[in-house]
């Protein structure tokens, strides 16, 4: 990287610029991270202390025996464990489903020739742009006809069965695999499914990780499908439960914020460990897609 400006503390002028540079970054960082921190701190406040004026920056429960009171209550009184389990099942199954459908589709689009292939692929990518609101009413009617309302199925099946971004991701990668790989294994008499599962799929670990993480996050954070399809408490996801919480217990901010912390925690942990894949996918979906 030739002359990318490197910050050095050579002269006083440069030193001042470095200070200003970091000051700007730190201010932007505070604006970005403060809401998370404020949410976390207030989840350790008691019901009375949370409304204190002026606000207390040190939560009153922290350091006492009751430190995790809000967390215990939300699990004991409000079935938070069940919601979390639901979210893991919904987001996990959708992600695994998408992995299979998308890697298969990517493999077919990259390696096979058949009539209408380009049209199907164009439709697949084209429908990526379609806002979900433009298809949700008939989708709701289908789910109703199938008798799937109030179950995991309507939250999992539509997103597990078809994925534009994922199919595109795998197609791009598989197209660039040299044909020698196919030929060698074809000679061994392997059918296309074996070639897919034994040769292609194992080579694409980075795409697999990307798709699993992105799909898991999207489904974990999804709101529209849960609020339309789920009415009974026991099937609610964390994201949906949070909105219910907000409208039913609007005065219990300590519990609402505790729920918020618990709802973002799994995603933030995933983000910290899988940052590379998440950020790369945002580039490829934004620029190429």
């Amino acid at each position: 990287m030739g002359k990318v400006p490197v910050l050095k503390d050579d002269t006083p002028m440069k030193r001042i610029r470095t200070v200003i540079y970091y000051a700007v970054l730190i201010v932007a960082g505070i604006i970005t991270l403060f809401p998370f921190l404020w949410m976390l701190l207030n989840s350790f406040n008691s019901e009375g202390n949370i409304f204190s004026v002026p606000p207390k920056f040190i939560p009153d429960l922290l350091g006492t025996k009751q430190a995790f009171d809000n967390y215990l209550r939300i699990f004991k009184e409000f079935h938070w464990g069940r919601y979390t389990l639901n979210s893991f099942i919904v987001a996990g199954s959708s992600a695994i489903g998408q992995l299979f459908t998308c890697s298969l589709a990517g493999f077919v689009f990259a390696t096979m020739r058949f009539r209408g292939k380009n049209l199907i692929f164009a439709l697949l990518l084209g429908t990526m742009m379609v806002p979900i609101q433009s298809t949700i009413i008939p989708e709701f009617l289908i789910m109703m006809k199938l008798g799937w309302l109030d179950s995991y199925l309507p939250m999992i099946v539509p997103s597990a069965l078809v994925g534009s971004f994922g199919s595109f991701l795998f197609k791009e990668y598989y197209e660039n695999i040299p044909p020698e790989f196919i030929d060698a294994s074809s000679i061994d008499g392997a059918g296309p499914f074996n070639i897919y599962s034994k040769v292609y799929l194992p080579m694409s670990s980075s795409q697999i990780a990307t798709l699993l993480v992105i799909s898991f996050m999207n489904n974990w954070n999804d709101l529209l499908r849960p609020i339309l399809y789920i009415s009974s408490d026991k099937w609610q996801t964390v994201t949906q439960a949070l909105t219910q919480f907000q409208s039913q217990y609007s005065a219990k901010w300590n519990l609402i914020l505790t729920g918020s912390v618990l709802s973002v925690l799994p995603i933030l942990i995933l983000y910290i460990f899988m940052q590379k894949y998440i950020i790369e996918s945002s580039i490829s979906s934004g620029v190429k897609g």
Binding site: V53, P138, G286
Partner: protein, 279 residues
């Protein structure tokens, strides 16, 4: 091997897309059977003051969102396109709201912005100013929600611009330095023009993204106060699933689709031209 994708595409994408179009020509509340009404829903839509406000709200939201994420995204990208200590941490931090659910973001910001107990209003009071009803004032609520969405999504656009900046060859920048161009000249005469393709694509992504504001509105204002934050995506939900006016809601959803389609087609045409002009 393509069977799952084909089933998904037909049943959950293309089918419903045509289904919505068909329903938009009917009057239907799910209890009685649907009656064909031709273009009546579309006619009603364009004469309905509440729809006109919704379309206007969507436009204002989009304008604030697109300008906000593009300006801040590019600014952060320029700041981070250097080799300096701690850059990785800041990039990771700026991106973190992108992965967080809009519901959690909406809830936390509602708390920060709430009257009396919210920290922002307490800060204003401490400074001797009057408190502001950020989400309760019909004039303020829409821009405030749009700004929160900007806060949430800026990191995404920062990453897109960073990718564009890193594609600019160092040799060009070096040549500009050798020719004696100062920092500002380098930015406006070299970096920005070379980034123009990227900027155009990012603009398209941002416009289409700006329509997707259902979650943040659901979590922060539910379309209120007085319809002030009702946007197209939210209006489909309200008419379809609260008022059960499926025909009318489908018509609104097709209007939304038309907006997205126009942007996508423009993007497609311009992209094609540029690809040609390069060779």
């Amino acid at each position: 091997m393509l069977i799952p994708t084909m089933i998904g595409l037909l049943i959950f994408r293309l089918g419903p897309l045509l289904g919505s179009l068909a329903i938009s020509f009917t009057d239907w509340n799910m209890l009685t059977s649907a009656t064909f009404v031709g273009l009546a829903n579309y006619k009603e839509m364009f004469h309905n003051p509440s729809f006109i406000q919704t379309a206007k709200n969507t436009f204002i939201f989009s304008l604030i969102y697109v300008l906000g994420v593009m300006f801040l995204g590019l600014s952060l990208a320029l700041l981070l396109n250097k080799k300096a200590k701690g850059i990785g941490f800041f990039r990771g931090a700026f991106y973190s709201p992108v992965v967080t659910s809009a519901v959690a973001v909406g809830i936390v910001w509602s708390w920060i912005l709430s009257p009396r107990i919210g920290i922002l209003n307490q800060l204003l009071l401490a400074l001797g100013l009057n408190e502001v009803y950020w989400l309760g004032d019909p004039k303020l609520a829409l821009p405030v929600v749009a700004v929160i969405q900007v806060w949430k999504m800026t990191g995404y656009y920062m990453i897109l611009f960073l990718a564009g900046l890193q594609d600019i060859p160092d040799t060009i920048r070096e040549a500009a330095i050798v020719d004696g161009a100062n920092g500002r000249q380098r930015f406006f005469k070299v970096t920005l023009p070379l980034l123009s393709h990227m900027t155009f694509f990012v603009l398209n992504v941002a416009i289409i993204d700006s329509f997707k504001n259902f979650e943040i509105i659901y979590a922060m204002t539910k379309g209120g106060p007085q319809n002030a934050t009702n946007t197209l995506v939210y209006d489909v939900y309200i008419n379809g699933f609260i008022h059960f006016r499926l025909g009318y809601a489908s018509a609104v959803s097709y209007f939304l689709l038309a907006c997205v389609a126009i942007i996508t087609i423009i993007n497609f045409i311009v992209k094609k031209r540029w690809v040609k002009s390069q060779y």
